[in-house]
Amino acid sequence: MSAANSPEGMSPSDASSWTLRTRKFVERNVPMDHLLPQRQPYYVGSWVYVFGVITIAALIWVVVSGVVLSFMGPQWWHASSVGRFFNGLHFWSVQLFFIFMVLHLWGQYFMAGWRDGRAATWMIGVVIFAASILTAFTGYLSQQNFDSQFIAINAKDAMNAGGIGAFFNVLNFGQMYGLHVMLLPIVVTFLVVAHIVMVRARGVVKPIDAEGGTRS
């Protein structure tokens, strides 16, 4: 093996390699055995800990059912009973997503999960919450039924009062639908991946007042 291929031996060109530096950064901060550990601290022993992974599972179902709906077009589920079933999957998976996300929020709050350098993880979590609300909002506006009509007519006043109604027109189905199936799922997915990586990088926070942890 030449020095350039060996991880230990660095040739002069390696020293300036951004690719190598990126790889080293990832290996240092999120090595595979931190990303996918088969062990956890023994105090990870409460059902409260499963709310996060259930939220992830619900999000996966939201996306899968949403992909099916978008593939068949926004009017399919009104006319087809199979479509209505898939809309039901999408509707209930969204309900479950918010239910377990909020339970996860309650759990993390009462565990003060932001301690020991985990403040950024908490903050990203709050951003995910806000982004999810926005995504759900555009979804409710995309239903093309009575509910979406009234939500649009009512919500426009808040958007307009805030100044963004000129750019984010809730009465414009095309805009709301496009945001809902394309831009916002990408944003939420990206944020959730970042959140999970941050959790895995630092590991689960220690119990409150555990030795070796910091006060806040």
Binding site: R39, G45, S46, W47, V48, Q95, I99, L103, W106, G107
Partner: protein, 50 residues
């Protein structure tokens, strides 16, 4: 399920029965998660991080 549902009116609070079920259910679920025993691995290796 498309028939209108009933609402509970308590002071300024006005909530639909399905919403109350969801919120009440969440509180119950959280309480159960707090107290329900969690399956602990028996023994396992007492591996301490070096």
């Amino acid at each position: 399920m498309d028939t209108p549902t009933s609402y509970l009116h308590w002071g300024f609070i006005l909530i639909s029965v399905p919403n109350l079920i969801v919120i009440g259910g969440m509180i119950v679920l959280f309480a159960i998660a707090l107290v329900a025993p969690f399956p602990h691995s028996q023994g396992g290796e007492d591996v301490r991080r070096k």
